[in-house]
Structures are given as structure tokens and as C-alpha cells.
């Protein structure tokens, strides 16, 4: 890659797979369960977190030398809260329906452990460019899992993708529904999101045995 040095591209690519915040570090599970019943909110959530974490990491990194370490958590919270409110207001202004659907979960990005985790673990000790890459990388890793889970849950649970009826119409019995297929109601319920995440973890660790923890 010409644009990024090898070290920098590692910052982005690592969290996508072998150091994924959800499947490896098991952070940010709550939101992964709550908003992935459909694909669209999953993607919006992913974009919001990419914005908050990318920009937040840069801000914290710029301020890292002037933040007194005793009150750093408060400073971090203020930064996240500001960014989250920006995201929330933008969504309310331009995608009101969607923001209603995501309801409190946009506000709850503040409590997403991935964000505070990256601030503490990375942005406080690295320069702004690297922090930006790390933030975007981790948020992308989070977003990928969200989108995979959202894809399967919406496809199997509601028979749609982005609200578009890809498997036919369940009421008028077209396409798959004409031969007796039915939507899996379990997929819409949060426990199934946990099971889907579990299956992703299973697949990932059986492909890369180095990830399996010893006990």
C-alpha cells in the first residue's frame, strides 16, 4: 500500500479480523444485540461509531499531553458525549425515521466499551494520525460484525434486506413463500443475535487456531 506504511495499515486491518473488538475482545456486545434485527440500523450504527471513534481518537490524541491523568475519564466522556450528540442531531435532522428506530442506542454509544477502551489504550499514547487509523479500524471491525449479524437476522427473520422483500411476499405468498417457507421469528429476538455472534466467533477461531485461548 502506497498510502499507508505497513505499520499503519496494520492498525486498520488488525481489528477487522484477528483483533476484532466484538469477536475477540468481546466488547460492545449490547449494541450488537440490540440494533441488528435489521440491516439498515446496523449500517447506520456502524457509520456513527466510525465517526465517533475516529474523530474522538484524534481529539483525545491531540489533547493527550495536556489532560491531567486524574480527570482523564471525565475529559474522555465529554469528548464522546459531544460527538454522540452531533451524530444524534444529524440523524434527527436528516433521517428522522431511522433515528427513532435506533432510539436510545445512538445515545448509548457513549457507554460502548470499545470507544473508551481505544481512548485509554491507544489515543492517550499515540499521535493523531495513528490514533485516527486505530479508531477507524476498530470501528470498522465493530461495524463488520454488526453488518454480518444484521444481514442474517434481517434475511432469515424478516425475509427482507434494507426493507426490500428479497425472498418474496409473505402475505401474498410469492417466490419462496409459495412453497411453504416461513420467516424465522427467533431471528428477530435478541438471543439469536448472541447465537449468531457466537457462531461467527466459532467459525473465526476454527479458521485461525492461534486465537483459541488456553485454559
Amino acid at each position: 500500500m502506497g498510502l499507508l506504511s505497513k505499520k499503519d495499515s496494520k492498525l486498520i486491518l488488525d481489528p477487522l479480523a484477528d483483533n476484532n473488538p466484538i469477536t475477540i475482545q468481546v466488547l460492545g456486545i449490547c449494541s450488537a444485540l440490540a440494533i441488528t434485527a435489521q440491516l439498515k440500523p446496523s449500517i447506520v450504527m456502524a457509520i456513527s461509531v466510525i465517526f465517533v471513534l475516529g474523530v474522538g481518537n484524534v481529539i483525545i490524541s491531540l489533547m493527550r499531553n495536556i489532560i491531567p491523568s486524574k480527570i482523564r475519564i471525565i475529559v474522555q466522556l465529554i469528548v464522546v458525549a459531544t460527538l454522540v450528540i452531533i451524530v444524534d442531531q444529524v440523524l434527527k435532522a436528516f433521517a428522522y425515521e431511522l433515528s427513532k428506530e435506533l432510539s436510545v442506542f445512538i445515545g448509548l454509544i457513549i457507554t460502548n466499551c470499545i470507544i473508551m477502551g481505544r481512548f485509554e489504550a491507544f489515543a492517550l499514547g499515540n499521535g493523531p494520525w495513528k490514533s485516527f487509523l486505530d479508531g477507524v479500524g476498530n470501528a470498522l471491525g465493530y461495524g463488520i460484525i454488526l453488518i454480518i449479524v444484521g444481514f442474517f437476522r434481517e434475511l432469515l427473520g424478516s425475509g427482507t434486506l434494507f426493507g426490500f422483500k428479497v425472498l418474496g411476499d409473505p402475505v401474498e405468498k410469492t417466490f419462496l413463500y409459495s412453497i411453504g417457507y416461513e420467516n424465522n421469528g427467533f431471528m428477530v429476538l435478541p438471543p439469536m443475535a448472541l447465537i449468531v455472534v457466537g457462531i461467527i466467533i466459532w467459525v473465526q477461531r476454527s479458521r485461525n487456531r492461534a486465537l483459541i485461548e488456553e485454559n
Binding site: G180, Y181, E182, N184, G185, G198, W202
Partner: protein, 402 residues
């Protein structure tokens, strides 16, 4: 050369290869294994896992056969083609060839699917992981067709069995390691995934779904279903005891379930402690509800009134409570292991089953959820029983040495 020799030869030939577990499974299923234990203590007992499983299956066969007759009987009775059974358990209206053939036509595919898919996955996992195929699925495969409605679409059963075996059992490490009863995991999956096929007033009698909305519509309401809606039902107590009522395939006949329970208790495979304490638990909860209804704490217009006021012992005759207590609560893997723990475990299953039944009309059959819940708590119960025992003995030791 007989089949036995051929299998022995095959086993030698495939020893150490990937497919070895699959051949060994067939071999040990049909014949005694030809190898002996090396070193250590030998426990000489005939009741290995295979035989244990087969006895449970034998205890289930009466329920299966009865279920076939009942499926046909309920169908023709709802159509008005035959009269209600009137001559006790051996009524001639019930034990007819046409009843049986219709039931077998509907239920044998369920059995075939359940075993085919489940054992297929077991073989697959055994080959991938390189361990022997375990016998655990033999019982699960027989339980599954008995606890689903007769009209369940077969592809749903395929999906549910695959889910139950993989997520309910294999991810934990296979037979003996599972936390939840696999058969109930399969049923719970069906219940939450396809509620229209697992509950309501149609699915329990063959033909009711496809006739819905037409002039020939028939009812497939179960007793619990009618009670949950405060409707009256017209089955008398003996019908409920013999099992001439609509319900899941194999759970209706309390009489045959008692027979199965006796087989399990006599062969010491099912724990009588769990069965007895579950029954006590259900009766206690039922009686408490009876008292609530009797003392007038709830009015007759309350939506809980019918289920609360039904005589407490009738809870054992309707729905799947008896079946669940005898065949599923006693599953040795997922139940409590300690004798004292079994009493708590069983009591809570009965108690919670009736509670869910009454308070949650959306889940008229509480026994499934109650057993799954207690499966999760069984290790905790065992832990406290063990700790209690250790503490008591430690105290005794202190008194002695002091």
C-alpha cells in the same frame, strides 16, 4: 462370512482413517465391540450407554404407537366421521386401522427426519473431530417427533433439529457435556421461530390448518388452549387420562407415560426422586392457585380464572407436564446429579411449569420452559448441595477434634 465379521474387517481396514468413527458407530450399534479395556479397573456391567438409551426408547414406543392412533382418531373425530371413544382405554372407535394408517403416514416422516438429520450431524461431527459417534442422539431423536404438533412442516423440523444438535449439544462437546436438554432445545427453537405452527388452536389436529377459513373448518384446540382463553372444554377426566385428547404427538396419554415411568424406574434409568418431586411441585402450585380461586381473590372474569380454578391434580393430565417430567426432566446429563439436589430440581420444575401455564397464556405449555430453566440451574443446585455437605462434615470434624 456374516455381517459381524465384515464389520470387524472394515473396522480394522479403516482404523486410524478419517471415516473410522462412522464405521465404528455402525459396528458398535449392531454388535458388542470386539476390543477390551486395557489396564486399570474393569467395571463389568451390561448397562452401557447404548443399552441405557435403548431402554428409554422402548419406554417411549408405547407413546409413539398411541400417538399414531391418536393423530388419526383426532382427525376423523373432528371431521365427524367417527364417534367419540366410549368404551374405556380399549375403545373400538380408537384402535382402528384407518386411525393408525393416517397417524403413521403423518408421524413416521417426523421420526425419519428427526433421526436422519440428527444422526447425520452427529456422524459429521464425529468424523471432523475424530471422536467416536456417541449414542446420545438415539433418545433425542425419538423424543423430538413426540413433542411436536402432528402437522409441523418437515423442513422446519430439519432446521430445528440441525440447530438443536449443533448449538444445543455439539458446541458444548457432544453427549454428556450439554447444558440444555437437546430435544427441548429443538422444541424451544421451533416454538420461538415458528410460533404459528407450534401454538394456537389449529396445529394440534391433522387437517385443521389447511381447512382454516373454509366451510369445513375444524378445531384443533388443546385443553390448555381453551383454558387459557376461559373457554369450556368437553373432555372428561378419563379421556384426559387415557389420552384421547388433542396435543403434541406422543404426550397425551398419561396412562402410557406412567407405564414408561415404571419401566424407567424399574431399570433405574430414570430418577424416581425427580419424577416424584416434580409431581409434588406441580400439585403444590396447582393447589395454591385453587385456593386463590376459592377464596375469591380473583374474579371469574379474570383471564387466569379457568386455569387457576381447574382441580389441581388435573394439571398432571393435561398438556405435556407428565411427559416432560418422566422423559425429559430425568435426563441424566442435564438434571441435578446429587440426590438432595434432585428433590429441589424436580420440585421447582413442577412448581414453575404450572406457574408459567397459569400466568402466561401465550406459553400455555410451561413444562418446556421450566425444564430448560432448571437445566441451567442444575449445576448451581448441585454446587450448594455439595458445599452444604462439606460444611456439615467440616463442623463434625471440628467437634470431634475439639
Amino acid at each position: 462370512m456374516g455381517l459381524k465379521q465384515k464389520l470387524h474387517r472394515l473396522k480394522e481396514k479403516y482404523k486410524g482413517t478419517k471415516m473410522a468413527p462412522a464405521f465404528n458407530a455402525l459396528h458398535t450399534f449392531l454388535y458388542l465391540p470386539n476390543d477390551t479395556t486395557h489396564g486399570g479397573t474393569h467395571v463389568k456391567a451390561a448397562d452401557d450407554l447404548k443399552r441405557t438409551m435403548n431402554i428409554v426408547i422402548m419406554a417411549l414406543i408405547p407413546c409413539l404407537i398411541f400417538g399414531m392412533f391418536n393423530a388419526g382418531y383426532q382427525h376423523y373425530l373432528a371431521l365427524g366421521e367417527i364417534n367419540a371413544a366410549s368404551g374405556g382405554f380399549f375403545s373400538s372407535e380408537f384402535w382402528t386401522m384407518s386411525n393408525f394408517s393416517l397417524g403413521a403416514w403423518k408421524i413416521l416422516p417426523l421420526v425419519a427426519i428427526s433421526y436422519g438429520v440428527g444422526l447425520g450431524i452427529e456422524f459429521l461431527f464425529a468424523v471432523i473431530k475424530g471422536h467416536e459417534v456417541e449414542e446420545g442422539y438415539l433418545v433425542t431423536g425419538m423424543l423430538v417427533p413426540l413433542i411436536v404438533p402432528v402437522d409441523i412442516p418437515l423442513w422446519m423440523l430439519v432446521v430445528a433439529v440441525a440447530f438443536g444438535v449443533v448449538i444445543g449439544k455439539e458446541v458444548f462437546g457432544g453427549t454428556g457435556m450439554n447444558i440444555l436438554n437437546p430435544a427441548l432445545t429443538i422444541r424451544a427453537f421451533l416454538f420461538f421461530a415458528y410460533p404459528t405452527w407450534m401454538s394456537g388452536d389449529k396445529v394440534w389436529v391433522h387437517g385443521a390448518v389447511e381447512r382454516a377459513g373454509t366451510p369445513d373448518a375444524i378445531s384443533g384446540e388443546t385443553i390448555l388452549g381453551s383454558l387459557a382463553q376461559n373457554k369450556v372444554f368437553e373432555y372428561d377426566t378419563m379421556d384426559m387420562f387415557f389420552g384421547f385428547i388433542p396435543g403434541s404427538v406422543g404426550e397425551t396419554s398419561t396412562l402410557l407415560i406412567i407405564l414408561g415411568a415404571l419401566i424407567l424406574i424399574f431399570t433405574k434409568i430414570g430418577s424416581w426422586r425427580i419424577m416424584l418431586s416434580s409431581i409434588i411441585g406441580a400439585l403444590v402450585m396447582g393447589y395454591l392457585f385453587n385456593l386463590v380461586a376459592e377464596w375469591g381473590w380473583i374474579s371469574e372474569s379474570s383471564k387466569f380464572y379457568s386455569l387457576m380454578s381447574i382441580e389441581f391434580w388435573k394439571h398432571l393430565l393435561i398438556g405435556g407436564l407428565a411427559f416432560g417430567i418422566v422423559y425429559m426432566a430425568t435426563d441424566p446429563v442435564t438434571a441435578s446429579q446429587t440426590n438432595k439436589g434432585k428433590w429441589f430440581y424436580g420440585f421447582l420444575i413442577g412448581f414453575i411449569s404450572v406457574m408459567i401455564r397459569v400466568f402466561n397464556p401465550a406459553y400455555p405449555e410451561g413444562v418446556m420452559l421450566a425444564i430448560l430453566l432448571m437445566n441451567v440451574f442444575a449445576p448451581t443446585i448441585d454446587h450448594y448441595v455439595l458445599q452444604g455437605n462439606i460444611k456439615r462434615r467440616a463442623k463434625r470434624l471440628k467437634v470431634k477434634t475439639a
